[in-house]
């Protein structure tokens, strides 16, 4: 390898992008060629200078604001008038939902319909989870990330299952409160719909019970010492398909144990 070859290759050499054979050849040439070695030193120094010269240009805040205003959601910035406005709208919507739920809750109290309070709670949790920033504490599409995250945060081991193949994408999980106790909430996506799956230790009817509340479908079942409530705006048949898929797929834990 001569100096002309090395002049081209030494950049890939410095960038750690050279194949092993070429790397060895360049190293060998440099050991015996002071001129090329000096080039290596010079380019290394320029590279370090470039990286150290604070030449990186960060996006101005005004640009972030402008882009945020033109995207469907004010996603980019922390605080802008539009974001504040949307938050206000969201708060208003939440108030309406809470008011509606409260009215519903009173009706329920009158009916003294057993079990319904849980459904109301679950729907309320679901609605709250859809407010900005409430959906997910651990964001991952991998059951092997989501499940360990719950360890130490709950007094039980929740079932976490990847249902991507069945059309329900796991996007994360969070802690939530249902009926006065801490529960695991898994978040799945069905197209643009969110499915919240709450679970906690307990026993109930093994077979599933389906309800509709405020336009949301609620599905309850129990399995292997855990109670489950799934809440979503997807079609009822989709939620039932979700339950079937969830029951059929082995959870991360049992998979790991095998």
């Amino acid at each position: 390898m001569n100096c002309q070859d090395v002049r081209l290759l030494l950049h890939a050499y410095l960038d750690d992008e050279l194949g092993a054979a070429d790397g060895v050849a360049v190293t060998r040439h440099l050991a015996g060629c002071e001129a090329c070695m000096q080039r290596v030193r010079a380019y290394t120094r320029t590279r370090d200078d470039l990286r150290g010269a604070d030449l990186y240009r960060h996006a101005p805040a005004a640009l972030r604001t402008r882009i945020a205003a033109r995207l469907p959601r004010p996603a980019v910035v922390q605080r802008t008038p539009r974001r504040a406005w949307n938050l206000a709208l969201a708060a208003l919507a939440a108030l309406c939902v809470i008011a509606a739920l409260f009215a519903g809750w009173q009706t329920l109290q009158l009916r003294r319909a057993a079990g319904h309070a849980l459904v109301v709670d679950a729907v309320s949790d679901h609605v709250r989870s859809l407010l900005p920033g409430h959906l997910i504490d651990v964001r991952s599409t991998s059951e092997h990330t989501v499940k360990p995250w719950f360890d130490g945060r709950l007094d039980f081991s929740p079932q976490v299952k990847d249902l991507t193949a069945q059309g329900f994408e796991l996007i994360g999980g969070r802690l939530d409160v249902l009926d006065g106790r801490q529960v695991a909430a898994l978040v799945y996506k069905r197209h643009l719909h969110t499915i919240n799956l709450f679970q906690w230790p307990g026993s109930g009817a093994g077979a599933s019970v389906s309800r509709t509340r405020d336009g949301y479908h609620v599905l309850e079942w129990s399995d292997a010492g855990l109670r489950f409530i799934a809440v979503s705006s997807v079609a009822k048949v989709d939620l039932q398909a979700f339950e079937r898929a969830f029951r059929a797929v082995p959870s991360a834990a049992s998979e790991a144990a095998h």
């Binding site: 002049r7 081209l8 890939a12 320029t46 010269a53 033109r70 995207l71 959906l135 996007i171 643009l192």
Partner: protein, 170 residues
């Protein structure tokens, strides 16, 4: 979570990288902001067609295309490399001793980088400031990896020359 939120999570978080590339290509704030804004909105329109992969590379490719489209001067593939080969023959520009004499400060580096042709500037910015691999640069610039390697080599030699020339002039 809707598409907007997913788009934010996957794409908008690379806004600094997008702006850095656009700013170094356009060489002024106003044009860079125009390029980035249009690129991000285009990216959002095309987001349905984005099938995973590296969102940063994907966004930077759109930024680059947007810049050259706005200028209506997408560089002809390989032209700059051939051109530079012609003037590259002499050894005098690359005298290692002269190169070592320089003490590059940020201002001179900045000026020298800005004077490079955009085809050289972009590979240097992507490599040295953004830390992209050759493969990523190849995806962003739509060049072969071998071309990325030789263009980066020529870009650095050219930058070195710019720095040296300024030193001699000063």
């Amino acid at each position: 979570m809707d598409t907007g939120a997913i788009f934010e999570r996957e794409v908008v978080r690379h806004l600094d990288a997008a702006y850095n590339l656009a700013r170094w290509l356009a060489r002024n704030d106003a044009d860079a902001e125009d390029v980035v804004q249009e690129a991000v909105l285009r990216a959002f329109r095309f987001f349905g067609g984005f099938r995973g992969g590296d969102a940063k590379v994907w966004l930077l490719a759109i930024v680059r295309n947007t810049f050259y489209t706005q200028r209506s001067q997408l560089p002809a593939a390989g032209s700059v490399d051939e051109f530079d080969e012609a003037i590259h023959g002499g050894e005098d520009h690359d005298d290692p001793q002269a190169v070592l004499l320089r003490a590059a400060d940020a201002q001179r580096l900045h000026a020298a980088l800005e004077r490079l042709p955009p085809e050289f500037r972009e590979v240097l910015v992507l490599r040295e400031l953004e830390g992209c691999s050759y493969k990523e640069i190849a995806s962003i610039t739509n060049l072969k990896i071998g071309t990325v390697m030789s263009r980066l080599a020529r870009a650095r030699e050219r930058l070195q020359r710019e720095l040296t020339r300024r030193e001699v002039a000063a």
